[in-house]
Amino acid sequence: MIIGEGKPIKEILAMIEDHSKILLAGCRGCVTVCCAGGEKEVGILSAAVSLARENQGKPIDIKEVSLERQCDPEYLEEIRSMVEDYEAILSIACGAGVQFLAETYRKTLIYPGINTNFIGVTQEQGVWTERCQSCGDCKLHLTGGICPITRCAKSLLNGPCGGSATGKCEVNPETDCGWQMIYDRFKELGCLDQMEVIIPINDWTTSRDGGPRKIIREDLKL
């Protein structure tokens, strides 16, 4: 899923300081699961902003909503009737949701209430870690199911580099070395000879380097 985390309250307050009536929109998708932008976080953020504004002597009217998803047009439509009544929308969906709101409601100011960080997993309760950089050309079959583009700080396709020590990355002693993990996995699977294969220079056109990406499924179009 997409992992995000709330922006510092100070930054949010600065964004909306000129507004006195806003819509605070959560999302029931990924950001609910990673506890960054769901219904619960809408309530918490709303209370925090209201309190801060009262303390500043500039109370603010906040309408709380939580959409099923902010990345689908049909759910964005659900708030159309109320959008006009507010000066701005503070969205705590991921960056895709925030932008889709902005595209849908062109006359309303849209502010992001969270930072969108990565595509990852719930490592354990309260801990999320990155797994995928959506390069658009999955190579996991070549690397024992561990992505070197994501898990290696240098995205090396033929690692490990000389900075790998005791299983950790040179960039951060808390971070596992992606290529050590690949090596260990190959070893467990009894296919260490896979380490010998040169993975060729990458074609990044399927990644962000080809510009914003688009997928069209003719079989699904209406």
Partner: protein, 308 residues
């Protein structure tokens, strides 16, 4: 011969090679490089210039190599894939060859996190194995990676690094094998402080016959002080500095510790000369270039043989 490299010639004729390196200045003062060049000229067969090592911005390796070249020194252009994509890399390879640089050392580079511009975006369009392939492809196929023909091929002697001390240990030789398969011709290793582990690595290298496919130059760095030894042990990724070595330097009086470091470096070179498959040494005297002639002299590496 694949190039006009003096270093390649020395190695090809079976001489025990000596290389060194210098870090470029943090400014536009050409004199710094010239001074280092003067200190090393005649003592070594080629001089590497580091490419923004530890991600601290310095004068470019490329221009520093040109300064050395103008002094009649065979320069080795270090190139990291951290800061350039394949367009810039190929362009620089052509420029370097056109200006008479004969050697290139293909590296992935230290992560920008370590440097003075930690907020930078890195590139890593390719890794060091790909960089080796790229130079070889341009030189031997006469083509760009994109497939178009080159008008004038870059005749470069292709090098890379190997770190026998990083983990996982068994994978280090595998990575060397990949670099050899990619077309690397010479290897300069990480600084050797743990000769026992280096010996184990060389054994694995010989078991695979890699020592017959690539010239291996052992990396040697004299320790100036206990502080430097501790710093390298703790702060430099992938560096293996045994406690015994630190204890040995600590064991002598403070004003004799640099001398002890030099002695250790000389002993290391003497042991490397005896090791099967080691074809030379790469002396990295970090901001201590003036010590290289003495180390080379006392290790029995001077005068450098004249090869035709």
């Amino acid at each position: 011969m694949t190039s006009d490299s003096h270093l390649e010639k020395m190695l090809e004729q079976g001489e025990f090679a000596v290389t060194s390196e210098c870090g470029p200045p943090r400014g536009a003062d050409a004199e710094v490089i010239k001074k280092k060049g003067e200190l090393l000229k005649g003592t070594v067969d080629a001089i590497n210039v580091t490419d923004n090592q530890t991600s601290v911005v310095r004068m470019s390796s490329f221009s520093s190599c040109i300064l050395l070249k103008q002094m009649g020194i065979d320069a080795t252009l270090q190139m990291v894939t951290r800061d350039r994509n394949r367009i810039a890399i190929q362009s620089d390879i052509l420029g370097a060859a056109a200006l008479g640089i004969n050697n290139i050392l293909c590296l992935s580079g230290d992560h920008q996190k370590f440097g003075d511009h930690a907020t930078a975006k890195n590139v890593y369009d390719m890794d060091s194995v790909h960089l080796i392939q790229t130079v070889k492809h341009m030189r031997d196929e006469g083509k760009f990676l994109g497939g178009d023909e080159l008008k004038g091929v870059p005749k470069l002697f292709i090098g890379a690094a190997a770190n026998p001390f990083a983990d996982p240990f068994e994978s280090r030789v595998v990575r060397l094998a990949k670099k050899v398969a990619a077309g690397v011709q010479f290897i300069q290793t990480q600084c050797i402080f743990n000769l026992e582990r280096f010996g184990q690595w060389m054994q694995l290298v010989r078991d695979r016959g890699l020592h017959e496919k690539v010239y291996i130059l052992g990396g040697v760095t004299p320790m100036k002080s206990v502080g430097m030894a501790n710093y390298m042990k703790k702060m430099v990724p992938g560096m293996d500095v045994p406690d015994e070595l630190i204890a040995r330097i600590k064991g002598v009086e403070k004003d004799k510790r640099a001398e002890e470091g030099v002695k250790i470096a000389i002993e290391t070179i003497q042991q490397l000369k005896e090791m099967e498959g080691v074809r030379g040494v790469h002396i990295m005297a970090i901001e201590w270039e003036e010590m290289v002639p003495r180390i080379a002299q006392e290790a029995g590496l001077l005068p450098r043989p004249q090869v035709a």
